[in-house]
């Protein structure tokens, strides 16, 4: 039981972080960023290159991942999303753009970082073994802690900083924010960069545990979508809740349903569909029409 809880918290923390960036971008621009997973993968590869290959300190690599993705995110928003949103008759057209960017990033990752699974040396050694009730390697505990710390820091940033408040105003009501004197274009870019940066940060954190390969992008995006839906699209607290719920569902499902094997995820997906059919706005989302 304790093990299931610990697994759930660990999974939940990493999922929540992935979902945060996605939901932020969705809240700000109503864009479902199909390329989120690819951004996560790039973050992982940057950390791999700097920490694993060049041997620089881990923290430097992590920062480099954040910066790379923030810049990439800002560029993508400024030169691709912003003009397309302005010129498109239906805002869903951005989905095609997002998918195109996902393909592009996939192609670049393949050309730059190659097709192999990559991993970095462990950042901490050893395994916590509490009487065989909880077994958890120290590096996981550390990454879990860092993830939770980042989530708290992000919430604090959104709550108390000037930029964060402007972003929240923007997410709530674009027109109203504009009337209040928020520079909408500028903050859209900042928000997108921030969302991308979060993806890069998770990539940099998780590469130490799971390693990274170019195939992780697409599935990660889809998982992130599901978490965002569970919690409610475009709601920060919802993304966190969604991440932890999916994390716990997996941990519990795998523990309880393991003797039925193949159906664990079928059960998770079907219950997700039933949940969404009953409560379409997710746990904390605003009802959609």
């Amino acid at each position: 039981m304790e093990q299931v809880l610990a697994n759930g918290i660990y999974l939940g923390a990493q999922y929540a972080m992935i979902a945060l960036g996605l939901t932020l971008i969705f809240a700000l621009m109503n864009v479902l960023n199909f390329a989120h997973g690819q951004m996560y993968v790039i973050g992982g590869f940057v950390t791999y290159t700097i920490y694993g290959q060049l041997g620089l300190p881990y923290i430097v690599a992590l920062l480099a991942s954040c910066v790379t993705l923030a810049v990439l995110g800002a560029l993508i928003e400024r030169f691709l999303f912003a003009p397309v949103i302005k010129g498109s008759a239906r805002e869903e057209s951005t989905m095609l753009l997002a998918a195109g960017i996902a393909f592009l990033l996939d192609a670049l990752i393949l050309l730059i970082f190659g097709e192999k699974q990559r991993g970095v040396p462990k950042i901490v050694n050893g395994v916590l073994n509490w009487d065989f009730r909880i077994i958890m390697p120290y590096d996981r505990i550390l990454i879990c802690g860092l993830a939770i710390f980042s989530i708290v820091a992000f919430i604090a940033f959104m709550q108390f900083s000037r930029t964060g408040r402007a972003l929240r105003a923007l997410a709530q009501d674009r027109t109203a924010a504009q009337l209040m004197g928020v520079n909408v274009d500028r903050y859209s870019t900042i928000g997108f960069a921030l969302g991308a940066m979060l993806a890069g940060l998770v990539g940099g954190l998780l590469v130490t545990i799971t390693g990274i390969n170019l195939g992780m992008g697409g599935p990660t995006s889809i998982k992130a979508f599901m978490m965002v839906m569970i919690g409610g699209a475009g709601v920060i607290s919802g993304a966190i809740a969604g991440g932890f719920i999916l994390g716990f569902m997996e941990a519990i499902g795998l523990a309880v349903l393991s003797q039925y094997g193949d159906i664990t995820y079928l059960v998770i997906f079907i219950s997700l569909m039933i949940f969404l059919a009953i409560r379409p706005q997710g746990l904390m989302g605003k009802p959609w029409g």
Partner: protein
């Protein structure tokens, strides 16, 4: 107006690229060999190691004057098609090969792709060499597919038998990704283990291909304390994580798989925890590699920056095609001739020390010779590199 011109010029550029004729080699006539497989997306590693080993070998042949088939010396050109692991695209790829007049194709990499291209290959007279285990591909009435590696239902029993006799393994547990190929491999693995009298303590735990944390997946399996944990059809990306999770959960027994792995990936992903991990490989371990194999690895590394141990098994398909054509030059445009030759074909294996032979096998599994006799080399991972555990043959 401006955007119209832009789109038009983009389209024109596309058309140009499409019509651009293939590069011409100087001198020798060109023999085209095809590759249809996945070289982008999540499973890119499978196809890329394949494609690259073919290109390395082709470049090597061309550099040393070409390959002599009958009275003609050919330069070898590899034509690749990325099917994105989508059976619909695999068919398109096989059609492209037919279009290019190619009769010998390596790939596809998965069961569904290999099965989907069968009608095209048989209609167009193409022999193809998939990395897929589905028996119906190779058993009559199927005629044109040749299994290009050792199937897990062949390597599995050998490995389990060895471990049962030499390491005293009595109980075994299976874990597989919830996808066609790994599940099929698990099913045949379980059957093989039972046939040997091993006790299967867990055979229904699966994980999604997008899993990032394997601890919850493995927890119930490890609790059964099997002597051997089999990772059925595990992809190179998942192997180190599964090993790491199992060891961190305190698992002490053996871990094995029947697919090829890459030492570098294991080293990075699991480090010392991967010591003792048993996998199937080619003949590149120092004990077995011939000078040709060493040369191949060197050239591959030079061409692409980094070697991939999966290529150890994937270097063979092209070699078989060429050697069989050399044995019967009539087969170059006629796969019926090729099929005839397969029954009697024999040539020395250039990649392995000693007097190993290239032959076609598979009678036991498929009732006809539709498999290349890759040496079944079982490796164990020790301190960052593979060591040969034992070598067996397939019939």
């Amino acid at each position: 107006m401006k955007r119209r011109t832009l789109v038009k010029s983009a389209l024109a550029a596309t058309a140009l690229v499409a019509l651009q004729s293939t590069a011409v080699f100087a001198g020798n006539p060109v023999l085209k060999i095809g590759f249809v497989g996945v070289t982008s997306g999540p499973a890119a590693a499978w196809g890329i190691s394949n494609q690259r080993s073919m290109e390395t070998r082709a470049a090597w042949i061309n550099e040393t004057g070409g390959y002599k088939i009958g009275n003609t010396t050919y330069d070898i050109k590899i034509v690749s098609f990325d099917d994105q692991k989508d059976p619909k695209r695999s068919i398109a790829g096989m059609d492209k090969m037919a279009q290019e007049g190619i009769h010998y194709v390596v790939g596809p990499n998965t069961d569904d792709g290999a099965e989907a291209v069968r009608p095209v290959a048989e209609a167009n007279g193409i022999m193809y060499f998939p990395y897929a285990f589905s028996k119906s591909l190779y058993t009559p009435p199927a005629s044109n597919a040749v299994l290009a590696m050792v199937a897990n239902y062949q390597s599995g029993p050998a490995i389990y038998k060895y471990l049962k006799e030499k390491k005293g393994v009595k109980t075994v547990a299976f874990v597989a990704a919830n996808e066609s190929d790994p599940l099929s491999q698990r099913t045949s693995g379980v059957a093989a283990a039972k046939a040997l009298g091993l006790k299967v303590v867990s055979d229904n735990v699966t994980y999604q291909p997008d899993t990032t944390d394997f601890t919850p997946v493995l927890t119930p399996v490890i609790r059964q304390r099997p002597d051997l944990l089999v990772l059925s059809g595990v992809s190179p990306a998942h192997a180190p994580q599964l090993i790491r999770s199992a060891r961190e959960l305190g698992y002490q027994g053996l871990i094995s798989t029947e697919t090829a792995q890459d030492a570098q990936v294991l080293r990075e992903g699991a480090g010392d925890l991967a010591n003792g991990f048993i996998s199937v490989g080619g003949a590149s371990t120092p004990e077995l590699a011939s000078d040709a194999m060493k040369e191949f690895v060197k050239r591959y590394t030079k061409m692409f920056g980094e070697y991939n141990d999966e290529s150890n098994t994937k270097v063979y398909a092209l070699e078989y095609i060429l050697a069989t054509l050399a044995a019967n030059p009539k087969a170059i445009n006629d796969v019926k001739e090729f099929q005839k030759t397969m029954d009697t074909f024999e040539a020395p294996n250039p990649f392995m020390k000693g007097n190993a032979k290239l032959t076609y096998v598979g009678t036991t599994s498929f009732t006809q010779k539709r498999q290349i006799a890759v040496p079944l080399v079982v490796n164990t991972f020790e301190n960052g590199a593979f060591k040969t555990l034992f070598v067996a043959t397939v019939d």
